[in-house]
């Protein structure tokens, strides 16, 4: 029988694993050094579903440091820069799209 962790993980392009830091909730990214970084540029990039599943399992194993880990798409620029792959991740990475004060 397939483990629940192995179900429904299918990526179609370069992806990363992101979560929120437990102590303060800030957005963090899983790194290739088995740690977390607040910078998307440090994120480990996976290209296959098996890699994604493994990276997510590793991230989920750190239940103390991070909460709510999941896989999200990224866009890789020719320069090597990592960009968020959708609007939700753009907002998480760059912050609010709105003015807080009336203007």
């Amino acid at each position: 029988m397939t483990s629940p962790l192995q179900q429904k993980i299918k990526i179609t392009g370069p992806s990363m694993v992101t979560a929120n830091r437990t102590s303060d909730g800030i957005v963090i990214y899983r790194t290739a050094q088995q740690g977390w970084s607040a910078s998307l540029s440090d994120a480990a990039i996976v290209r296959t579903s098996d890699e994604a599943r493994a990276l997510l399992a590793e991230a989920n194993a750190d239940d103390v440091g991070a909460v709510g880990a999941y896989i999200a798409p990224v866009e890789l620029k020719d320069s090597g820069e990592i960009k968020p792959g959708n609007l939700r991740e753009r907002i998480r990475s760059k912050g609010l799209t709105i003015d807080l004060l009336p203007a």
């Binding site: 929120n20 102590s23 909730g25 103390v64 609007l87 907002i91 998480r92 709105i98 003015d99 004060l101």
Partner: protein, 551 residues
């Protein structure tokens, strides 16, 4: 204001200590997130896109100035200097740190504020009319009944793990400002033909992906029986409500699937077992609760003081007075609504400085009392008319005198994808752009009463179904699109809006809303025919034609 007793204070303080220990154990790894999640939710702590979100209860939307200062303090000390008032009369902070939450809760506990049952599958804040106790023609203060239900259901073991969250709203006026028909239970306090005061009980209202207007389950329940009757409804729901499917777990689905007659019969049978029990509300119990509400010692003041006559020459003051000042039940006093919808601002947000300033103004002009309305505005409920000019000047200085109450820019909006982990699309920037498009107050006044409600996903926290114009964000292939409905309303004649056509892209929404408003201005039978009445008279077709003819 309601004065908490020693029991309430002990309960709140014990909850802070308990949560402090739970947070400590979570941060040390003693508790896993799976174990901790329910505990944090029981204290109003969600995880959102950028951070934890902390929802604090404001029972029936009533605050003292001291409590509002505490809310300002939390915004300043533990968050980023602002808070967001919600459609359920609560406040949310968006950037709170888990490690600091126990301290924030402890600071709030000092003024009798907590976050219990602001999340989870239990009885949420029992909301009410923000004009409760001061509205002309009101039967009696509905907050007494909100408080009775609050006390009975807080940490009630039988109702702490309902199939899904449960929301009650109460009104005691002919005009429903509490949106009771879109709640799980709506209570309308009225006097029957025999002169007895009691409740019309409505059940099964709600929005979200399966919207329903509440149905009357019992046209009259006496005051002494209301607690047992509500409990009977909760028991039937607790027994038969679905726990296997979160999308079908609300009581509205049960009422719809059983039918109101069968559901009512089940409730009636349950009620017969408990109606003459300890749940019966004797007059002495009701009076005990009533006695803990304090009311201002109003002065005898003239209907039209000199200060008001003099200020009437200032067109800016007059524009604000006509829009934001309402008739009070006591001569010489007014109810003043403070718009949290400035042009270009996020709807419902207030800075810590604004909250402190409003608290000071409440002390000076409103017997130290503030209300929060479900439309995401604040209210000073007891302002002497002679003080209106001075209050207006003070509000203007802090950006809270925008004269747009109930007008097109008085928009209800959820936090949307800028904050919310459930959202598919953004809500706030749509609202901000619309307030800029309709910034001209003369134009807004000419348009008249028009409620725009925006939700960033089908969960409908922005009540889009019941907006005169409703805007619902949906994602299509990674892009933000918005469905537009018209003709909804949330008052005593509540109804769902009707979809006018295919969803439009983010960049077109403001243009579409302008087209709809222009169509209305061309179609209305006379200047005082409200938008929602024009839609009722003509249907959506003329509006659909206008919007899609060139798109």
């Amino acid at each position: 204001m309601y004065a908490y007793d020693e029991l309430d204070r002990t309960l709140i303080n014990e909850r802070v200590s308990e949560f402090r220990d739970q947070v400590k154990r979570r941060l040390s790894g003693e508790l896993t997130e799976d174990e901790f999640k329910m505990l944090r939710l029981q204290n109003g702590v969600y995880l959102q896109l950028h951070a934890y979100m902390f929802r604090v209860a404001i029972p029936y939307g009533t605050l003292s100035s001291k409590q509002l200062r505490a809310l300002a303090h939390v915004a300043r000390r533990y968050d980023r200097g602002y808070g967001h008032f919600t459609t359920r009369q609560n406040i949310q902070y968006n950037w709170i740190k888990l490690a600091e939450l126990p301290d924030a809760l402890a600071d709030l506990a000092e003024v009798g504020i907590h976050a219990m049952q602001t999340s989870g599958n239990n009885m949420r804040n029992v909301t009410s009319d923000q004009w409760a106790g001061v509205a002309p023609g009101e039967i009696e203060d509905p907050r007494i009944w909100s408080e009775i239900l609050r006390q009975h259901t807080t940490l009630h073991p039988e109702f702490s793990f309902l199939p899904r969250k449960f929301k009650i709203a109460i009104t005691a006026s002919d005009h429903d400002r509490a949106a009771i028909k879109i709640h799980d239970i709506g209570l309308r306090l009225y006097r029957n033909t025999e002169g007895e005061t009691g409740f019309e009980v409505l059940v099964g209202g709600g929005l979200g992906r399966t919207p329903f207007i509440a149905k009357t389950i019992k046209p009259f329940v006496s005051r002494r029986d209301i607690l047992s009757y509500v409990e009977a409804i909760l028991r039937v729901y607790n027994q038969y409500g679905r726990r296997d499917n979160i999308y079908k777990a609300r009581i509205k689905i049960l009422v719809h699937e059983l039918g109101i007659e069968k559901f009512a019969a089940e409730v009636e049978e349950e009620w017969q077992h408990i109606r003459d029990s300890a749940l019966t509300l004797e007059d002495s119990v009701i009076e005990e609760i009533r006695s803990r509400f304090s009311y201002p010692a109003y002065d005898k003041l003239p209907h039209m003081p000199e200060e008001l006559k003099k200020a009437a020459h200032d067109p800016h003051f007059e524009a604000w007075r006509r829009n934001s000042v309402s008739t009070h039940k006591v001569q010489g006093y007014s109810i003043v609504t403070l718009s949290l919808k400035p042009v270009g601002g996020p709807p419902g947000d207030a800075t810590a400085d604004q909250m402190d300033a409003v608290a000071d103004l409440a002390d000076k002009y409103s017997f130290g009392e503030i209300r929060v309305g479900h439309e995401q505005n604040l209210v000073l409920p007891h302002v002497a008319k002679r003080d209106l000019p001075a209050l207006w000047k003070a509000l203007d200085k802090i950006g809270l005198a925008t004269p747009n109450i109930n007008l097109v820019s008085d928009i209800i909006a959820c936090p949307g994808l800028d904050y919310c982990s459930l959202a598919n699309t953004r809500s706030i920037p749509i609202a901000q752009e619309l307030t800029r498009r309709f910034a001209n107050h003369d134009t807004a006044n000419m348009i008249g009463r028009l409620h725009i409600n925006i939700s960033g996903c089908i969960n409908a926290c922005g009540h889009h179904h019941v907006g005169h114009i409703g805007i619902l964000g949906v994602e299509k292939n990674g892009e933000e699109f918005y469905q537009i409905t018209i003709g909804g309303r949330a008052d005593e004649n509540a109804q769902m809006g009707t979809l006018i056509g295919p969803a439009v892209p983010y960049g077109d929404v403001a243009d579409v809303i302008e087209d709809i408003v222009e169509a209305y201005l061309a179609l209305r039978a006379r200047p005082d025919e409200l938008f929602v009445d024009t839609v009722k008279r003509l249907g959506v077709e003329p509006f659909r034609e206008r919007v899609y003819a060139t798109r």
